[in-house]
Structure formats: structure tokens, C-alpha cells
């Protein structure tokens, strides 16, 4: 029957759909960490999910769906930030954060929040989403060295020193 919605096997779309349904909190958290507002974060996730499914056929391999989805979601975040023109980054303020022990955790959060968007993305993807540097480079469409230097810069703001074996 022609009208019945014949479900063609579509491995790319299925991969994207599966990931969206499993990892939606990751995308939402990432969006929240930039926009700090539930309704805006939700708009970002919705728009990203919509675009990802709609354009899933442009994905080269189902196996790339993971990095591809992070990229789509981050692009939505950037688009949103551009729109609002809120990429305000006060480097000095971030540097001046005090590190008295009792305030340490609050300062740590503030240090992460006040990072430039690209540096924050690297920290989040590396330590919270536990991705490899190569995958992060792929998501951000940068080379691995650029990602590394952002990682160092970000960690420095968190007053974390990276040792050889961490790389």
C-alpha cells in the first residue's frame, strides 16, 4: 500500500534518534552551562534535535553520530549567544577569583562559568562527557593542538595543573 508509512531502514537516522533519546541530558546541561536559563536551553535542544533528525541523511557514517550531535548542539548554543551578544568575558575578573578554601567550590564554578565559550566546551567535553581530544577536535572543527591549548588555558583558570600522563 503506497500510503502506509513504509519504514525504510535508515541507519543514520536511527543512530541519531537513539543518541538523542539517551543523551538528551548531556545536550541540555551543555546548553544550560552557557545560557543559564531553562527556557533558552530547551529552545537550543529542541532546535538541535529537530535539525539533527531532519538532516540526518547528511551524516557520513552512523558511527559519527555522537560527535556530529555535539557539534549541532554547540552550534545552536553559539548561534544563540551570537544572537544575544552575551559572549561577555571578563578575563580579569576570572583571574582575580580568590581561592580561600571555604569559597573554593563556588569560585571554581564561577571560574568555569566565566570561561570563553570555546575553552569551556573543551573542559566540558573532555572531563564531563569524557571524550577524547581527537573527538573534541572533530566536534569543534579545530585541530588537536588548538584543542590542547584551549584545554591548558581552561585548566589554568581552574588552577588545575596537567601532568604528562594526562594527555
Amino acid at each position: 500500500m503506497k500510503f502506509s508509512r513504509g519504514k525504510k531502514h535508515d541507519a543514520k537516522e536511527e543512530a541519531v534518534e537513539k543518541l538523542l533519546c539517551e543523551k538528551y541530558n548531556s545536550y541540555y546541561r551543555m546548553a544550560m552551562s552557557y545560557v543559564h536559563n531553562e527556557s533558552d536551553a530547551m529552545d537550543i535542544v529542541q532546535e538541535g534535535a529537530y535539525k539533527a533528525i531532519k538532516n540526518s541523511s547528511s551524516l557520513k557514517e552512523p558511527a559519527f553520530a555522537g560527535t556530529w550531535l555535539y557539534r549541532i548542539m554547540l552550534n545552536e548554543v553559539y548561534r544563540f549567544l551570537d544572537k544575544r551578544k552575551v559572549i561577555s568575558f571578563d578575563e580579569e575578573a576570572a583571574e582575580k577569583l580568590s581561592y580561600e578554601d571555604q569559597y573554593e567550590n563556588i569560585d571554581l564554578k564561577r571560574a568555569l562559568e566565566s570561561m570563553p565559550a570555546e575553552d569551556k566546551a573543551v573542559i566540558e567535553l573532555k572531563y564531563f562527557e569524557e571524550l577524547k581530544l581527537e573527538e573534541i577536535a572533530d566536534i569543534l572543527e579545530e585541530n588537536v593542538n588548538t584543542v590542547k591549548s584551549r584545554l591548558y588555558r581552561g585548566l589554568k583558570k581552574l588552577r588545575i595543573r596537567l601532568q604528562e600522563e594526562d594527555q
Partner: protein
Amino acid sequence: MEERDKEKIDFLKQDYETVLMNEEQLHRMRDAMEKGREEKRGMKKIKYIRNTGLVAAAALVLVALPNTSAKIAEAMGNMPVFGGVFQAVTFREYHYEDEKHLADVSVSKLETVSEGKAVEATKNTVDEINAEIEKYTERYIRQFKADMKKDGYQSLQIRSENISESDRYFVLKLTAVQTEADSYEVSRFYTIDLNTGKRIALADLFAKDSDYIGVISENIKAQMREQMKSSEDVDYMIDSEDFPEDDFKSIKEDTNFYVNDKNEVVICFDQGDVAPMYMGSVEFVIPSEVLKNIRVN
């Protein structure tokens, strides 16, 4: 990394992971996925309209072939009974009004009331269609509720009505009108063959191997030219010099249609599909004469 630094990362990670999407947000994401899926399959087109306040009508047309014998069911009282086979039962009412937002939703679902042929299959098909109407309605309502949080005027109206009824065909049209900055239009129809209890397509109205698509498309083009000649207010995307690639060329297997009470095939297009947006949704009644050699049902 030193132990102390690892603790910092762990703290930040734990803090990061306290953020969770709730049930309503998950629904909204799934709706967005569904929207993407439908557009990908070309089942639904979203038209972004630049001017605010434009109204787009979304029509969901349901065509059914009722049992010809049963008119008895009409005696069933106040309940509207369609074609002797179905009755409409209100299943969703939603009304909301404040200064900027207006929602007026009253949608019926179909219930089979008489014993036609293929009762079980028909019931299954009706269940399926009801589920889809419900899904649409809930989605519009959820979208409306979500949009209320934004600035600007929003309105939503959804109604279902029986637009055509004959001994043989039954057509229910579900119309959703959304008013906001961006609006979009959906048209869908379901045809139930009561002999088999299954949905049928436009192709099922015509003889196998007949070029119904070509015949109907040529007739539509002739009608477009005729209408444009007789009125300056009418415009279709045809014979255009500037954008010939956007011209209407042919209907497709899944182009919307219904059968009117004169048993004529009516082809329906969404706003913006074959005519400029200001023309709204357009319909073409294909004269029976044109189809007489190929029509079988």
C-alpha cells in the same frame, strides 16, 4: 593530575550533572524530533512567514468509505453521526485566554457505531487515525503552552468538521489555525476502505497502470491557467519567467485529496505549495469527465 585537582574536576562534574531535563521538556524534544522526521520525509512542510500575524490553516482531511446501508445510527440522538458508520465524540477540549494568548481547541474522535464489513480492521484503522489526531492535537497544545512563555501574540484554534458526505465517502477535516510570527501548515488525510478496513491512497481510486498522476496534473495546470486568465487576483506558480524551477509540475502519489459529495476527486495543496502564500490553501476539483476512463472506485 594531582589528587586535589581530580577532586575539583569531580566536584564540577557532579555539579554539572545535577541539571536534568524534566518530563515536559523531554516531550518537547520528542516533538521537535517528530517535526524533523516529517519534514525529512516531505510529509509536512514548514513555511516561515516573515510578516507577523499571518494566519496559516492546517488541514487534516480524513476520508472514509462508510457502510452504505446504515442510516439507522443517525437516530442515535444528539451525537453527530457520520455516514452511519462513525460518530464523533469530543475527546479534547482546551481553552485558554489572556491578553496575548488565545487557544480554542475542540476536537472529536471517531467511533464506529454500526456493523459494516471488516469491522475489526475498520476499528483498528479508526483507532490508528484517532491516535494520530490526538498526537497532533496534543502537540499543538504543548507547543502553544511552550510558546506562551515567549513574548508576542499567540493563538491556536483547532476544529474538526465533516465537510463532505455521500453514500460512499466520508470526509472529516481537522483544521488547525496558528497565528504567530512563524506559522506552518499541515495537510493530511486518511482514507478507509470499509471492505478491507484499511487505509487507501489516491492511486486506489484509479485503474492499475493508469497515468492518473499525469491526467490530474494536466487538468490542474489547465485550471490554473484558466483561473489566472479570468482574475487578476489569482496567481499560481506556473509558466513563471523568473522562477521556472518553482513551477507546479505534477502531483505526487501522496498529494492530499478527498472525494466530495458529488463523488468528484478534489486535490488539495498546502499554503505556498503551488501558489503564493497569500492565496492560502488551494483546492482543485477534477471534473469526473476527465477521469472517467481511469477511475475505478
